[in-house]
Symmetry: C2
Subunit: 327 residues, 2 copies
């Protein structure tokens, strides 16, 4: 008999929640804006309300198995064992908070539901979602990289999440690839995210457009108002053959390849799943990334190197959070 679980992707902007059947995948899901005005206590109430609703709806309908629990992916450093969320960067007023146990208590006291709750961070649950339901299904070991506003990562080893000594493993965006460079993110010079986080990409694009003797189509697409320039414009322009935009994505892919080579030589991980909004540029990024990855490693270490696109899009978090309960 199969199992089902509730998987929640709790973000600074939205809470996405789904009923996930272990075999059949997402049965139903919903999305609400995160209430960031009433601090941790408000979030606990909001999460508990959504969980209780989904649990009752699904229990009434569900004919198909055992309830395995509630999994939550949260935006910040998480101690999965203790169920603590620390300093989520996009949630004002939070410090270190026992999110797992508070949600569990609220469900019990306010909703009369005694449910097991699991917590991990958003990058980890996205990686685990891809491992169990997406592009990582065939890989025993891989790194998932999320290219979005930031550059995040989650590591799967031997089909399990690798969390590290304090739960902060996988922070690929903080790897330094140019220690004397001029790009800075979070006060640290030359990190991967300083180059290919969204801000970094737009900065490279601006300097390439400025240096180009011919105007770039990307400029036209944003109405030559470069404060409005977005990765989407650069992607469209590149697909239309715009040389500057093609060069931009080649550069972004190469930089990603340098970062991935550091993961490959250190951890001997050879499979990479690439997701996040920026990864929509697809082969514009993937081809130069794989090329650079190979050129950054000894030929004796090339065997098995592979970059693949993530498959679950913005559902990876819900899938992975639910999968925490099936483990």
């Amino acid at each position: 008999m199969s199992q089902w679980a509730i998987g929640i992707d709790f973000g600074g902007t939205a809470i996405k929640a789904a009923v996930v059947d272990e075999e059949r995948g997402i049965l139903s899901d919903r999305r609400v804006f995160t209430d960031t005005t009433s601090g941790p206590a408000g979030t606990v109430r909001q999460l508990s309300g959504i969980i209780a609703d989904l649990y009752r709806e699904a229990s009434e309908k569900n004919d198909s198995g055992n309830f395995a629990g509630v999994g939550v992916g949260a935006p910040g450093a998480v101690d999965a064992q203790k169920g603590l969320l620390s300093y989520p960067p996009n949630l004002p007023g939070w410090t270190v908070f026992a999110l797992r146990d508070e949600v569990r208590s609220c469900l019990l006291e306010k909703k009369a539901l005694s449910l097991p709750v699991f917590l991990d961070n958003d990058a980890n649950v996205a990686a685990y979602g891809e491992a169990m339901y997406g592009a990582g299904r065939e890989f025993r070991d891989f790194l998932m990289v999320t290219l979005g506003t930031g550059v995040g990562g989650g590591i799967v080893l031997n089909r399990k999440l690798y969390r590290g000594t304090q739960g902060t493993a996988g922070e690929v965006g903080f790897m330094i690839i140019d220690f004397e460079g001029t790009t800075i993110h979070a006060g640290i010079r030359g990190t991967l995210e300083s180059f290919i986080g969204k801000k970094g990409i737009l900065a490279i694009a601006r300097s390439m457009i400025d240096a180009s003797p011919v105007p770039s189509l990307a400029g036209e697409l944003c109405g030559n108002d470069f404060s409005r320039l977005s990765p989407r414009h650069l992607e469209q322009a590149a697909l239309a053959g715009d040389k500057v935009s093609l060069a931009l994505w080649h550069r972004v892919g190469s930089l990603l390849g340098v970062g991935l080579s550091n993961v490959a030589v250190l951890m001997d991980i050879r499979k990479f799943v690439i997701g996040g909004g920026i990864s929509a540029a697809g082969d514009l990024i993937f081809a130069p990334a794989l090329d650079q990855l190979r050129r950054s490693m000894l030929p004796s270490m090339h065997e098995g190197l592979e970059l693949v696109p993530a498959l679950l899009g913005n559902k990876a978090g819900m899938y992975g959070a639910a999968a925490l309960c099936f483990g």
Copy 2:
């Protein structure tokens, strides 16, 4: 009742072999020059001869326990599961060779000894030696870095060797910290080893000495014949207060710190054991390395960061190789 094993550190220059008691450590050891003239077959004969001698001597004397096996650390990429050594860089004429099984067969056929043999690479056995008998005893997870001619590494997670998907994990020297830099090692630009391998250190020293308005004591120590300049001269000069040499080691330590920060953010490893001949410079390297490591990471990730010197010196390989048999 305790166990004992034979631990062998098989290098391109010398073979070091020891009888190791699990509780009491090294009981006796020997060192012979590696015969590199007769290829893999000659090495198999040489290793088997040493093993048979040690085994018979120790068996006669030994009153203290069970024989656990023979462990060998070898200089090159090793597939520990299959017992293969691939392309050892300092052994001419070798390609991919079933070293473990060949040694086992030779012991059986030529010496009438049926002994279990374990194989791993030299960086891994050194890390495992420090884990079991040295500076890593108190750490559950750590990276050992060996600073010598090259920059090598071995990873211990949860008190076990972490080998990666193909057995090549821990190659910290190949991490790229300056992808557009001018230093190159093994064809790859800006790797950690290109900066702080022995050649890299001497190149930095030369350029610092050349740029200095006052002569460096290091120059005096090598008789102003800079082809003879060695890390030892730079260490002596720094300890005597030579400004250029002090700046050199500060630079080397900072570069090491950048590399270690990449390990820390990716794997959430916070303990580092530093060994190898160059690490004799001690705090001249360690202090700036720890300082840079902290400055390269978010304050929220500083907890538990620690750099310690390796304790076993050139015995780490023999200890670790023997410990493979006790596992």
